[in-house]
Symmetry: C2
Subunit: 480 residues, 2 copies
């Protein structure tokens, strides 16, 4: 393919993408394929000679599309949003073309510097405390991680390193391994599975803190566990708070938890993967109160802030904690400006070495939407969730299972779990809308998350109509 | 931005990208900016109201381009390639538009299944042993990781888990922490810094194995260290072999090392991040001999196989080792087909949870180039490296510092390091070409890597002319 053909094919692809979005509602949101469906549709080996572009694009419809779960469809209400936006798509084209790998400042200064400034912009939109911003001479700063899981892992590793150094400073005979085996991390029983995984990777123990009846961790619950563990000779060192849990969008009480962590020399990481985007609105900013106690904070603009996956925004109060955890400096990565305080080498901030020019899509999105545009997007989704909540509340067969604070509604059919299980099965078999379940207080619950950028009130109404119709079928069968 | 505007802006962006590639040689390959240059060029906060698209595109030239290191320029000879290609760019547009997050099979079946089959296609092009392929009922299989660093980490974590289980099976009283503190990993002293970092993350010790005079690890060197460590009561459990080291593209002797690892119950991971792409050519395939002894293998199609970053291809012989290392299964990620042998949930294979639809770009590239096209690309680069090598060898002031096997030439000015250091400084100050250094046998060495998809013989000739001219200046000064 030469440049001339790229111009032609590129235009065709732009139209393909535009057509995809214009007609996405005509596609079943959830695919009707069996495991292994794809292998039989394509050859078992790569072609020896080049094929034609036309054949490939035909196969996109024949092979790919039938197996796609359409996350961008307004009928997609599963998991959490993964908002794509048109400005982000354009920025990604540019990023792909430049194709730089920004592991050090010198490897592409623009890639590093735009990222630092974009994280400052975003931090200001969230009214993050000044200490989390890089500015020109801050101790803190932000970085784009691939996912919230990686941010959690990085924060836990930094905390591990800091703790080992502190313990060894007062008892220099202790080996790292001995300290590890006494270190205890904590997180909510409602926290994302990646927190437990991060502790497994780091080789430290983790305890799940019970939540109150709103599925949130309170200070006293953590305090009790920490006291108990200290009495048993363990070293509490890390707490991952969640703002907006995955099952029910519950908010741990970080105004209570933060002071405990600070007093106990425990690193507090705040994971607001989904909910964080809402903090660009002043009316939701109070949910972030207490962030001043945290050592690190992360949320995913790729979930709800219109910046395509992957873009997880992480801030630390003290960048030296993160960088110091594993600095390894071979000559082929050294460069002249390395020692300057102005220079950031993001490779020390993350698990991978390489990194794409992801801040471009933040820059395009923030400028083309403006702070106000981002706020409208969040408010619109919250309004739609409230609309759905009202519909559920008006129907006596259903119950709401957790307070609806942002864009997620947890609900179930009153009675045995099997009713809600059957309802969900029917919903996903029909493929008109797509939901996933969760478990709350041991009960099977349906999660209805407003996801797509293009979801409107009529989609909510239609979804509810569809759900009630299937409910009729479920209850009818159960009455036999 | 509505769909109609996206069609227009998308076309403009396609042209912008095409123009960028057509004129990339007119730009200095390495930017002339000081640390902190960018912050002063843009506002300190995000705009409240939307800005115009025209303003943003103007800023791409004003703010971004002056700070870009142009990795796709044919005058870029630094690090290793990060080949972008036009078919991959088109596939990425499609991937971004679909915007699915393929963490489980159900989250988007096409995303998972195409990946499995593409890794089989690629494995077959490399003539990987059958046991690494997924097929319809294989124990092994491939996965796209973000970077080789993540593949190394995943393999080390899987090895750690397997070893702990084995040790605990024969001594059930040992705690995990106690076992960790006896576990020893090994890698070449020439290995990439990410291997050391993986051991740090996992909390295990690592030893660097000395290399022979070709910078390769031999069996006897590893064997000696393993014996010594075993005698000291340690548990050797992991060896990361490198095929194509970063400093000099040296190849560890895995035909010797593999049997040792197998005998000692050590996991052998083979990291061929750069060199792996060359194995699509039969004449280079012998460099992969011994892979049958490995537990896992990884290389980066995003380096040298025309698939845009990120795309690191990893295979394991026994997928259960990888998956078993940290399976965490919350209800919101469960789905109906989970227990089927046909279904792969790639979230268990990697550090992050979320993942993009990256196999699309493999599919586009493999089909639009064909196996033959990929081979031509590799062969062309190797020929160019040989051409550069001849030029260096013909000039008595220089010496070649390592055998030129693929696309990397290591060379230096004979004599004191300061000469080569000054030469490199001059080269990078002139910004006509870009190189980075390495250290070999304690000496400062220049690395000349053929990187860009569009590098031709005349670029090599011009680069050499440029280098010799600067050499003249360096030697003249040093004679005063």
């Amino acid at each position: 393919m030469d440049i001339a053909e790229f111009r032609r094919r590129g235009r065709e692809m732009v139209d393909f993408v535009a057509d995809y979005y214009e007609n996405i509602e005509k596609r079943p949101v959830f695919p009707d394929v069996e495991p292994g469906y794809l292998r039989s549709l394509i050859p078992s080996e790569a072609p020896v000679d080049p094929e034609t572009y036309e054949d490939i694009m035909k196969d996109v419809e024949r092979v790919i599309m039938p197996g796609v779960t359409h996350w961008q469809s307004p009928n997609f209400f599963a998991y959490f949003p993964a908002n794509s936006s048109l400005p982000a798509l354009l920025a990604d084209m540019l990023s792909g073309a430049i194709g730089c790998i920004g592991f050090t400042w010198a490897a592409s200064p623009a890639c590093t510097e735009l990222e630092t400034v974009m994280l400052d912009w975003l931090g200001k939109m969230l009214q993050l405390p000044e200490c989390f911003l890089a500015g020109t001479d801050g101790q803190g700063g932000g970085v784009i991680q691939g996912t919230a899981s990686e941010a959690t892992l990085m924060s836990l590793l930094a905390a591990r390193c800091k703790t080992v150094r502190r313990v060894q400073a007062s008892n220099s005979q202790l080996l790292e391994g001995e300290i590890f085996s006494k270190m205890m991390a904590y997180t909510s029983e409602e926290a994302h599975s990646s927190v437990e995984r991060a502790a497994q990777i780091a080789g430290v123990m983790i305890r799940k803190v019970p939540t109150d009846d709103t599925y949130a961790v309170r200070g006293e619950m953590l305090k009790k566990m920490v006291e108990m563990d200290k009495a048993a000779g363990l070293i509490p060192f890390y707490f991952c708070a969640t703002l907006g849990t995955t099952p029910s969008c519950a908010f741990d009480h970080i105004t209570e938890l933060g002071p405990i962590c600070n007093d106990e020399n425990m690193w507090m990481h705040v994971d607001a993967a989904y909910a964080g985007s809402a903090f660009v609105c002043p009316e939701f900013r109070h949910l972030l109160n207490g962030i001043e106690y945290a050592n690190s904070f992360d949320f995913n603009p790729h979930k709800w802030l219109l910046v395509n996956f992957d873009c997880s925004a992480m801030w630390v109060k003290n960048r030296a904690d993160l960088i110091g955890a594993f600095k390894v400096d071979p000559l082929y990565l050294k460069h002249e400006n390395q020692e300057s305080g102005l220079v950031t080498d993001y490779r020390h901030w993350q698990i991978p070495l390489g990194r794409r020019f992801r801040s471009l899509k933040m820059w395009f999105v923030f400028r083309l939407y403006g702070h106000k545009g981002l706020q409208s997007h969040i408010r619109h989704h919250v309004t739609l969730a409230k609309e759905f909540e009202s519909l559920v509340r008006a129907d006596k067969r259903f119950e709401i299972c957790a307070e609806v604070i942002l864009g997620l509604v947890c609900f179930r059919l009153k009675g045995e779990d099997v009713l809600s299980e059957n309802l969900l099965k029917k919903i996903n078999q029909k493929r008109e809308i797509h939901l996933v379940p969760c478990q709350l207080s041991g009960r099977f619950v349906l999660r209805f998350a407003v996801c797509s950028r293009t979801t409107e009130s009529h989609h909510i109404q239609k979804a509810w109509q569809h759900i009630t119709q299937l409910t009729f079928e479920v209850l009818q069968v159960s009455n036999y």
